[in-house]
């Protein structure tokens, strides 16, 4: 009996040990968070402090001049925008349709499970592999040459697994009772999906799409061999020609340019613009989610 009872001093000891371990637990979590925040702050500070001085209206509306040592970054901005548009035109419809098929129509057989596993694995393949594949397929086999369309399709391939996976997750979150509701009033399977399931899953689908595209917009490796150019004189924007893109421009300015000191501010400016673009895209995803949540409730 006594062994179950603790004396006062033992109780206090126990209490102190508990308190100590909870402080350690809490403290280690806080410390990890603080370390992560510290690095994020350093990165943002680094980019902003060095890039902010060159950021101006002219910087984003002028083409690069004098061997890219002055002028702006309009050409790479246009390139990245067009590239992202081509990527989404290819990856969004195919990705969403594929996810709808997998989640709503395909029976759960080993074939479907294999396809699904393959898609998940593809999203883990390093992006340089996609670059090589795009070079072999689009640039050479299909004879598109190193061009905007070849690079856009390559990025589209890279984006597909993400779009399929996020769309499928969004569709999975729609309970079967919602589907049954539509079927019970005489909707066909297609009408159920089109009128009830997709609209209910829209916030999840769009969030996935925007986040995937924001990632694709920042990719360098897949466009390296498929169409990104070191420098293009004057206007760009033809789908069958090479183009400049923000991430590649940044890579090139910071590692390949001969007068590295002169172009350093421009490189930081480019990094800042790229970060802002990605941030704005993520903000859009956040807004979509917020708007749909508000409408739903």
């Amino acid at each position: 009996m006594e062994s179950f009872l603790l004396t006062d001093s033992e109780n206090i000891m126990q209490f102190k040990t508990n308190k100590l371990s909870s402080v350690i637990e809490w403290g280690s979590l806080l410390l990890s968070t603080a370390i992560v925040c510290f690095f994020i702050a350093v990165i943002i500070w680094e980019i902003f402090s060095k890039g902010f001085s060159v950021l101006s209206w002219e910087f984003t509306t002028m083409v690069p001049k004098e061997g890219m040592t002055s002028g702006g970054i309009l050409t790479p901005i246009i390139g990245t925008v067009l590239l992202t548009l081509i990527t989404s035109a290819f990856a969004v419809p195919f990705g969403i349709c594929c996810a709808i098929y997998l989640n709503e129509y395909a029976e759960n057989t080993w074939v479907t499970r294999t396809i699904r596993a393959a898609i998940r694995n593809l999203s883990g393949v390093p992006s340089i592999i996609y670059g090589l594949f795009g070079l072999a397929l689009f640039v050479q086999a299909l004879n598109f040459g190193t061009s905007l369309v070849a690079a856009g399709l390559t990025l589209g391939l890279l984006s597909l697994p993400y779009i399929i996976t996020t769309t499928e997750e969004a569709l999975k979150r729609i309970p079967n009772s919602t589907r049954e509701a539509a079927l019970a009033v005489g909707a066909t399977k297609f009408e159920t999906i089109k009128d009830v399931v997709i609209p209910s899953a829209m916030s999840g689908i769009l969030t996935g799409v925007v986040l995937t595209l924001s990632r694709a917009a920042g990719e360098t490796a897949p466009i390296l061999f498929t169409g990104a150019a070191f420098y293009i004189n004057g206007s760009s924007g033809y789908v069958n020609q090479e183009f400049m893109a923000l991430p590649y421009h940044l890579y090139m300015l910071s590692t390949q340019h001969q007068s590295i000191d002169q172009v350093k501010p421009i490189a930081y400016g480019t990094a800042l613009v790229l970060v802002i673009v990605v941030f704005l895209l993520n903000l859009t995803a956040f807004y979509i989610r917020y708007k749909y949540r508000k409408d739903e409730n």
Binding site: E107, P175, N176, S177, T178, R179, E180, A181, A182, L183, A184, V185, G186, A187, T188, E191, D195, V196, P199, S200, D295, E296, N297
Partner: protein, 248 residues
Amino acid sequence: MKTKLSAQNLNISFGTKQVLKNVNVSFNENEITALIGPSGCGKSTLLRSFNRMHDLSPDANINGTIMLDDLNIYSKNIPVTEIRKRIGMVFQKANPFPKSIQENITYGLKINNLPHGKDVIEKALQEAYLWDEVKNDLKMPATRLSGGQQQRLCIARAVALRPEVILMDEPCSALDPVSTLKIEELIKHLKKKYTIAIVTHNMQQAQRVADKTIFMYLGEVMEEGPTDQIFNNPKNEITTNYINGYFG
């Protein structure tokens, strides 16, 4: 009393598990029939087979006949959507579409090419005793309604299509007593126009609303008859034990 809906020699299995064994039941026109029995006895499975909800499960195997008047609802040459239009369903958990109240009513009408004007919406909502509560907020998302209101909206959505039969799968199990009474009152009022089959776990509810009661046990129909007889003078010993609460 005319038989509206009936099942003959109905066997349903999922994979290797047989859920319904040689079920023979009938539902009379303009009557409320309650399906009672312990969890897992197959009453929901039976109910869902009446509007072919099992078509969604690839491993469901259905044998036997289900007749709506003199139409075999599993006959190959009749579209399943036509069956579901004539046999409506209200589910256990209210499942309004994530759309406005108005669109919840009009959706089924639109896809079936039926008129979906203001008068139709009002009539359906009035039949479901919901009109007075929502008439000024028809554009509001249906998900903002209370649980009881959502369930009445689901009933309104079903009656808007002017079905012949309404299937209800424990429609009050997620509701508070006040909402439950409202729905029960509504069900009793709806039987004037429709044939109603209701699955319930609540014996008091079966006694309050049902004209006829079917007691099921382990996938078989143990006993069916007028509600009074089933509850006051059951013939089967298992029925007696169940309604007296010895198991359930």
